[in-house]
């Protein structure tokens, strides 16, 4: 199979509300930045995939007004109503067809122009979940109550994840929600929906992220430091929360299994050097350790207690600060990808992990309670 690499990327500033520039300019600026970083011009980009959301943008088919700023004018362009890490699947497939040599993925959202609650509330169905007030927050609270209750995990371990991610964010210029907190600070912060508290929760973030992919042969001409895609897995579970297995996390587990199989990874906890996962809420990160096979089932709390997933641990997770540090909806998956690519090429500056890195994992999710998951394995070696 053709080998494909990430050859360039850029992010916009991430802020709780970007008021000085509109969405088009935000996207235009970020695309320009990605091109400048790679020394490419927009003519070098053969196809474009957009990740955005109609409800967030307040327009149907929200890519229709984004063609010019993306640089997709009279090109083969399509939109994915999903996070950018999903749009990357389509860009990847287009390159695999052999028809294109380069592809760009553009993801963006200014959620502060409406509200995160409206966005996630409309994911729920009108018959059974909306009347119960199901949103990202409340579905996660129910999931946490179920999973943590099943395994008897104390909420202090989730607070330790919040402390880690908000602390990691301090070193990351792309993060805007950061600080030195203690477990007690987290546990004593305002309760939103038990057991989730304010400091367990993501901020409101506007922003855009762009990556450029190229096929083998072309990638090496564009950059000296391509980051190679070694495997991907993506899986969808059923919809209604009460019909699903919220303890076994089958969609997450299977997405990871497929990504590992493609990349030839036998023991993820040993072979993965760094991971960026879409945790959204601190509690979710321990479930991710479980579903991604970083630990035994229900034992994610051990990894945070032992410091395994801390910045200087054996398997650092979310050294960027994760979604707690910045949560640009629709763009977070690409931010994860950019973070891992930056780390694998030693370009992360102040928040560069101080160890040799070869293999990185990127996770993103969509829907309620890990309904859909995508797992990418990246490497600085072509393989």
């Amino acid at each position: 199979m053709k080998k494909i690499a990430i050859v360039g990327y850029a992010t916009s500033p991430f802020k709780p509300g970007i008021r000085d520039i509109h969405l088009g300019e935000l996207v235009f600026n970020t695309v320009q930045e990605a091109l400048k970083n790679t020394g490419m011009s927009i003519e070098d980009i053969e196809t474009v995939v957009d990740a955005s959301c109609d409800i967030i943008d307040g327009r149907s088919i929200s890519n229709t007004f984004m063609i010019e700023p993306m640089g997709a004018f009279l090109k083969e362009e399509a939109k994915v109503e999903e996070d950018g890490a999903y749009a990357t699947i389509y860009a990847y497939m287009r390159l695999l067809t052999g028809k294109f040599k380069t592809a760009m993925v553009v993801s963006h959202g200014k959620i502060s122009e409406s509200s995160p609650d409206t966005y996630s509330g409309t994911i729920a169905d009108p018959f059974f979940m909306r009347p119960m007030g199901i949103t990202a927050l409340t579905s996660t609270a129910l999931h946490v109550s179920t999973y943590y209750g099943h395994y008897g995990i104390d909420e202090k371990y989730a607070a330790m994840v919040a402390v880690k991610n908000l602390g990691n964010a301090k070193l990351n210029p792309r993060a805007h929600n950061k600080g030195d907190y203690t477990v007690e600070d987290v546990l004593n912060s305002e309760v939103l929906a038990t057991p989730i508290k304010k400091l367990d929760s993501p901020p409101v973030t506007d922003g855009a992220a762009v990556i450029i992919l190229a096929v083998e042969g072309e990638a090496e001409k564009i950059t000296d430091t391509p980051v190679w895609i070694r495997g991907v897995g993506f899986i969808n579970d059923g919809f209604y929360l009460g019909h699903r297995d919220l303890i076994e996390l089958p969609s997450l587990r299977e997405a990871a299994r497929r990504a590992y199989a493609a990349a030839g990874i036998k023991n993820p906890a040993e072979e993965i050097d760094i991971a960026e996962v879409y945790e959204s809420y601190s509690f979710n990160e321990l479930m991710l350790y479980d579903g991604l096979g970083f630990c035994e089932k229900g034992e994610g709390w051990k990894l945070i207690e032992e410091g395994t997933t801390c910045r200087d641990g054996k398997l650092p997770v979310n050294v960027s600060g994760g979604a707690l540090g910045a949560n640009p909806l629709m763009a977070r998956g690409l931010v994860n990808m950019i973070e891992v690519a930056t780390q694998l090429t030693g370009k992360a500056g102040e928040h560069q992990v101080k160890k040799d890195l070869k293999t990185g994992l990127v996770h993103s999710t969509s829907g309620f309670c890990f309904q859909s998951n995508v797992v990418w394995i990246l490497s600085n070696e072509k393989g």
């Binding site: 509330g121 018959f127 059923g238 009460g242």
Partner: protein, 154 residues
Amino acid sequence: MSTDKISFEPKVLEGEINIPYKWTTGPAAGKFLTTLRDERKIIGLKCSSCGRVSVPPEEICGKCRKRNSEFVDISDEGELVSFTEVRVPVFWQPAEPPFVIGFIKLDGADTLLIHRILASASSLKKGLRVKARWKEEREGHILDIEGFEIIQEG
């Protein structure tokens, strides 16, 4: 990054989108909702292949990909599996916060129902027995059941 910046007064256009909908329920949700209304009864759907009984009724079994058609009666009592007390306003909330929602395993069902728990969170724990409190005026809506109350022992 852009060249030739235009000087302008920052302007934000305020507006809203208010879209009425009429959502057809389909046979599974439809029969479930009209049975709540007319018979004050909860029903589930049984998969003809794996036998799983789902509430609310799952029209198509995800695992077996069979269209389910065998309705079975389900108790309006069951066990509280997990719950959350929501303390901040959320979209389409069933009540002013704080309110409690939970997963309930109804007797006779293999899946969990999400519904309101009509009790203070401090009085709740996993495994408590609960029972539906029905509304007198019902319209064929999941909130024809106001919520679930703890069954007092003895």
